[in-house]
């Protein structure tokens, strides 16, 4: 029992990072209808930039954290302007493939600069674990969970009350109507990429503090798909819940597969089995908008 409780807690922590990455994905998808296969690579680049600033340039962690966010914003604007904007209105396969091309470029960039071996962040938080229900939990886990809950709160308020957030929702709902009401949808597109890159970078930095970083970090982006499909592609709440549910489920499946069948590494594939099942039963997820087609 304690074993499974530990699995659930680990799942919640990893799941909260999936949620952050899924948040970035959903924001881009909502505003621009672009499916971003490079989401995981944005996580990886953010983590590496922060790593380079703290370890190689010896800057204090907080400074390099903020500089990383600035870098992410610059990268997002560049990507949106140079790569995504020419493809507005192109078929979905072109848009998917252009983000896949982008992910190859980012991966290649990271490997050319930092190589492929695992790099470790210096410890920022204390190592002494907290005790919760008799289980030890590292402070970095608590921080990871707290930070992602905080970010979700901030973005929910942002979308609900700020005029920029309302403009973004309007754009997502109907681009033409939003444009005729005087919303500059090009800047909204750029903004949504910036937000996505920033939250992904934060996810990457947290993950780097937990596990260290290597060039495989981008694989995390794949985990976003089960999470957002479960939650619904265009729902923020769905992204949050989907990430947590997938995080917990994959940990439990991994544990159960090892416990019952002696099958290793089931974690990698469990979320995709879940994904196929969700797609069969409820293709628009828990909170997604159903597309209704009429001839």
């Amino acid at each position: 029992m304690e074993y499974y409780l530990q699995l659930i807690i680990n799942g919640l922590v990893v799941g909260s990072i999936y949620s952050l990455v899924a948040l970035g994905f959903v924001i881009i998808f909502k505003a621009t209808k672009v499916v971003n296969f490079a989401q995981g690579e944005l996580v990886m680049v953010g983590a590496y930039i922060c790593f380079a600033l703290t370890v190689q340039f010896q800057l204090p962690f907080l400074v390099s954290f903020l500089l990383t966010l600035v870098f992410s914003i610059a990268l997002a604007i560049l990507v949106e302007r140079l790569i995504l904007r020419p493809l507005i209105g192109e078929p979905i396969i072109s848009v998917i493939m252009v983000t896949i091309g982008l992910s190859s470029m980012l991966k290649s960039f990271v490997q050319m600069v930092w190589g492929t071996q695992i790099q470790v962040f210096p410890a920022i938080l204390p190592q002494e674990p907290y005790m919760l229900l008799g289980l030890p939990i590292a402070p970095v886990y608590v921080a990871a969970f707290g930070l992602s809950v905080l970010l979700f709160g901030v973005f929910s308020l942002f979308f609900k009350y700020s005029s920029l957030g309302i403009a973004m929702r309007a754009t997502a709902f109907d681009q033409q109507a939003a444009q005729s009401m005087g919303i500059g949808i090009k800047s909204i597109f750029a903004l949504s990429w910036c937000i996505a890159a920033v939250v992904s970078s934060i996810g990457g930095i947290i993950l780097g503090n937990i596990n260290g970083i290597n060039a495989q970090l981008g694989q995390l982006g794949l985990k976003v798909f089960p999470a957002v499909i479960l939650g619904g592609l265009d729902s923020l709440l769905g992204a949050a819940l989907g990430g947590l549910i997938i995080g917990v489920l994959e940990n439990i499946c991994e544990g159960a597969a090892k416990d019952l069948f002696g099958l290793g590494g089931f974690k990698e594939v469990a979320s995709f089995v879940i994904l196929v099942i969700i797609l069969m039963i409820k293709p628009y997820g828990l909170f997604g908008t159903k597309e209704i087609e009429r001839v």
């Binding site: 470029m105 050319m112 499909i229 590494g265 594939v269 995709f272 089995v273 196929v276 293709p283 001839v295």
Partner: protein
Amino acid sequence: MSMQKCGLFYTTYAREDGLFPSKFQKICLALFFAVLLVCPQFLDSYVMSILNLILIAVIGAVSLNLLTGVCGQMSLGHGAFVGVGAYGAAVLSNMGVPFFLALLGGGAVAAMVGMIFGIPSLRLKGIYLAISTLAAQLILEYVFLHAGSITGGANGLPVDAPEIMGYSFDTDSKIFYLILLVTVLCVLVVTNVIRTRPGRAFVAIRDYHQSAENVGVNLFAFKLQAFGLSSFLAGIAGGLWAHYTMYITPEQFSMGLSISYLAMIIIGGMGSVLGSIFGAIFITLLPEMLNLLTTSLGGIAPDLSAIIVPMKEGVFGLMLVLFLIFEPEGLARKWRLTKAYWKLYPFAY
């Protein structure tokens, strides 16, 4: 396939329906194949191995183009279907089944798996279908790695060189003829399928599925056929690959393979058979060109070899992005434009 010269007038419908309506076209093709047939005599085994890989890639690209370019069903799992065919053919051939039967058997297994993962396509489109085929890719990869008793797991599976009537195709030049034969057959199959009733139905589904349904196209049947045929051919490509490299491991059939097949059809031209061939050539040659570049620059900058592997991926991504932005219809369109230019030369119109 419209390499037609000026002044070609059809006098019968049969003539117009022909695969190669003009004599000039037939002569060009015959010359092309004559050159291909004699080239093993003159080229070394390294160049032959690249040629073989290109031919196998052509089968994969043509089959994916049938599914994605013609029928409009995007698949991110094509590499895994190739893998299913490779393992299927390898296992059969290790059991002593003759080469061609093993190849067909591998194709059949791949077709079955492809159709199973094609079932969700009835309800899913666009992004949802892409993600469900992505799931297929990752699930199949896991199976390759963990069904150790069949696939050999991470250690891989050794395969013998193909042997027909006691003649062993064990060198790059010998197996070239075999691969060429199968590739030509596969390309002919796809070209002809596009010209027939199911092919028209595929195009109708791609262009607008609801209109297609309204004019009497059975969506479920034709989508499944597209998945089945496409994965069958992918399986054939896999079987050839297994017999050619003589050793298969799960990481050969990773997500990267699926993506490079998609890149081939995008760079070549969606929905075009000729485009798939161009794309397969382009994507297979790209890393070789980079190798050539680094060995020639080796004298000047010896550190270059350390970054060459990641650089390949970056150049691949860059090419994909550049093609999508500047030439979304691919090399097939460039080819058409070039031909049109020379047809009217020296006049612009």
